[in-house]
Assembly symmetry: C2
């Protein structure tokens, strides 16, 4: 549970932080019930928050930091997701259906997160209509984002995808190694270098 005094925050400060994350302002009436169930956690750069092959029982809200989800293919790592401030972080397939996940998630900066277990969340969902609908909307918005990325992969060239990326997530470009961005865009690092050279 959150220990407010430990972090020197008032409840109001915390509430403002949490509201920014994942449309939590939508559940105004239930917000305080929700907040007290969160656990604040901090990890250093390089920490592997979620490990492939395990069943993940927690979802995280990112207050500060950047994370990448990746999976191991042969001797390479394939990065397929970045998350930063105000994003939620979880292994979809592991968290939703309690199966071992295929992905790992690494923190790329020292990070501050709020954590809630699946057991607690399921209990909320089964007893609070407002939160159940908030959870549904949260997943709906993740689904739209994932589908849009999927489609753009299908009909845009590597150069177009890179330009989209620097327009939509310029901060990530500054904070993440280019080899991860190349992997995220589905191209080799050499191709990414060529695209960057052409743009210059």
């Amino acid at each position: 549970m959150l220990n407010f005094s430990t972090y020197g925050q008032t409840y109001e400060q915390l509430e403002n932080t949490i509201k920014k994350i994942s449309q939590l302002s939508l559940i105004e009436d239930s917000l305080s019930d929700f907040i007290v169930l969160l656990e604040k956690v901090e990890y250093p750069k390089g920490h592997i928050l979620i490990k492939a092959g395990r069943v993940e029982r927690s979802v995280y809200f990112i207050e500060k930091g950047i994370a990448r989800a990746y999976l191991d293919k042969d001797d390479k790592e394939i990065t397929f997701w970045f998350g930063s401030e105000s994003d939620i972080l979880l292994s979809y397939n592991s968290f939703f259906v309690s199966q071992p996940g295929y992905e790992s998630i690494e923190l790329l900066e020292d990070s501050v997160l709020y954590k809630i277990s699946n057991d607690i969340l399921q209990n909320l969902y089964n007893n609070n209509l407002q939160l159940a609908n908030w959870g549904r909307k949260l997943v709906e918005s993740e689904l739209i984002k994932t589908e849009e990325r999927f489609i753009s992969r299908q009909f845009k060239t590597a150069a177009e995808r890179y330009k989209d990326f620097i327009n939509s997530q310029p901060a990530i470009l500054q904070r993440v190694q280019l080899r991860h961005i190349a992997s995220y865009l589905g191209i080799s690092q050499v191709t990414l270098s060529r695209i960057r050279a052409d743009i210059r």
Copy 2:
């Protein structure tokens, strides 16, 4: 609303059909409430069920038939989804957030569908905890499927993706033109022909 006598079905027959679709057996207690709100619709092959640029107010459950979602890119159509018996059919971004959708959905065979409007569904979600959680789980399972397709696009070769496709959806291969399958796999029809020739 469903008019049972029109279609010569008993309620029990209809319930069995509906249960097969989209894990609706999960909402045993609310199932009959849900079923009476469905409207059965039938359309011929070639019908455009959902048109890009419109706000879509309905979701469909496919009882019989095949559909493809596509978008127009320059003078080409990009197919990015197939649905058949037991799948749900909707424009994610249009239905979930009431925006004009970017995709069209065409029926590739004469089809039988059950339809429910977003207004009715939202009303159910806001008044029935069991249905709200069923809706959340439905979206969660769509999200897992979409993410898996996204990732496989990123690290599998065109040949691997084709083999995955014929293993996981052999029936679709028999029922859909190869040009649509090539588009779905993100490759040209020429490349698909080459892959098929190599396998033979």
